[in-house]
């Protein structure tokens, strides 16, 4: 007769693999039914099932190279996919709302506070510095940056970090509003802001990606490829003579890379490495990062209000996380909910795109600062 306890112990890995099938199915459910970041969560969910079949041929077994490991080694381990995806993202973003009111960039900077706060929290909970930095970057609210930084530090937790980064990005409408309501008064939420957009010269739009690349590259040279690819994509868009390339980068390139990226990440979703208490800790710390990004942005706006005679609606500070354009929309909707005539979108969209740049710069700074003391 089979001893059930012995059977469970002997087949521990199989049980964990079944657990990963359930997680894979959950990711597919969230992608299809809830439409949460479906372009990433669906391939990741399917990949999680694929790599957790016993002796899966999708993974390298002895001499035989598996497709998922091959894609991971040649697309993620060498940082190719996140960088290519950034070219597409750069081509998608119109920085005009930011350039017409350049002061909004400060809010993007403030809303990266969650990254650095989470770095300290992860270190406090016993993660080594490399892993703490990789976990903290979930707060960038930016998948490619998270992958780039975690991969740069050869983090053991790449799978959970990416799952957390993309899941929380999709959960911005659920995470941000209660945090904002908790730290603002009703009076503050009802502050109306006039929009004074300045004229933006065409040459400014062309020079913007070049200036960002030079400044960010000089400050954090190790991450220049990250900001460089984002800005290269934007330069293609704004130069006005590469419509075909801009269109390809925004659609074909971005879609193709996203497709491969999602399923390649599954290489780090093998049961043994994924199902442990550290994964739960990473999910919790990722949430902390998103919450404190929001707090950083809102508190910065409140700080400015102490000195500024023209009051700022502090909610717009929360749009400084780079989950674009979801965060801008959430803030705009919250403004309308408080007062139907309060249109915060022009401000929140500018801050949201500045968050995209700031999160990449924060990623670069984390790489430089942490590398310097390792």
């Amino acid at each position: 007769m089979i001893d059930i306890g012995e059977f469970i112990l002997e087949n521990a890995l199989l049980w964990k693999q079944i657990g990963m099938w359930i997680i894979g199915a959950l990711l597919i459910y969230l992608a299809v039914k809830r439409q949460m970041e479906p372009t990433l969560l669906l391939p990741m969910g399917f990949g999680a099932i694929l790599v957790n079949l016993p002796n899966s041929g999708a993974l390298t077994q002895g001499e035989e190279v598996g497709i998922i490991d091959y894609l991971f080694d040649n697309g993620i381990a060498n940082e190719l996919f996140p960088l290519l995806l950034f070219i597409g993202i750069g081509a998608m973003i119109d920085f005009t709302p930011l350039l017409s009111n350049i002061k909004l960039m400060l809010f993007g900077a403030a809303a990266q506070f969650g990254i650095f706060f989470t770095l300290s929290m992860a270190a406090l909970f016993g993660f080594d510095l490399k892993d703490a930095a990789s976990i903290a970057i979930i707060g960038a609210a930016d998948g490619p940056t998270s992958i780039f930084v975690a991969n740069f530090f050869h983090s053991n937790y790449l799978g959970p970090i990416i799952v957390a980064a993309y899941s929380y990005m999709a959960l911005v409408p659920i995470i941000q509003p209660p945090v904002i309501r908790l730290i603002t008064t009703e009076k503050e939420r009802r502050i109306k802001m006039g929009y004074e957009g300045n004229r933006v010269a065409k040459i400014t739009k062309i020079l913007f990606p070049i200036v960002i690349t030079i400044v960010a590259g000089l400050v954090a040279p190790k991450s220049v490829s990250l900001v460089g690819c984002l800005m290269f994509g934007n330069l293609i868009r704004e130069c006005g003579v590469l419509h075909g390339l801009s269109d390809t980068a925004q659609n074909v390139l971005a879609n193709l890379v996203t497709l491969l990226l999602g399923i390649s990440v599954a290489a780090r979703m093998q049961a043994d490495a994924f199902l442990n208490w550290q994964t739960l800790m990473i999910l919790a710390l990722g949430l902390v990062a998103f919450i404190f990004d929001t707090v950083g942005g809102v508190m910065f706006a409140k700080l400015l209000n102490l000195f500024n005679p023209k009051k700022i609606n502090p909610m717009i500070g929360a749009a400084g996380i780079s989950a674009f354009p979801m965060s801008a929309r959430v803030i705009h909707q919250m403004g309308l909910k408080e007062d139907k005539t309060n249109f915060l979108l022009p401000h929140s969209i500018g801050i949201n795109v500045s968050g995209q740049i700031a999160s990449v710069i924060a990623g670069g700074l984390i790489i430089s600062l942490v590398s310097s003391i390792l």
């Binding site: 002061k103 400060l106 990266q112 406090l124 016993g126 703490a132 200036v211 400050v219 924060a362 600062l369």
Partner: protein, 54 residues
């Protein structure tokens, strides 16, 4: 709880936030200046074009 590691990360937090605001202010200053130059050049080009057409 690893207090020693936590303390080690505090300077990173300060330098990181300082760095990000520093970079942002440099970019803001550069873009404000470049936009002013860009608008001036655009206006001058328009004026030149108008006078040539006349």
């Amino acid at each position: 709880m690893d207090i020693e590691m936590f303390l080690q990360t505090l300077p990173i937090m300060l330098k990181g936030m300082g760095g990000i605001f520093g970079v942002t202010i440099v970019i803001m200053a550069a873009m404000t200046l470049l936009n002013k130059v860009g608008i001036y050049l655009e206006d001058e080009a328009k004026k030149k074009k108008t006078s040539e057409e006349k």
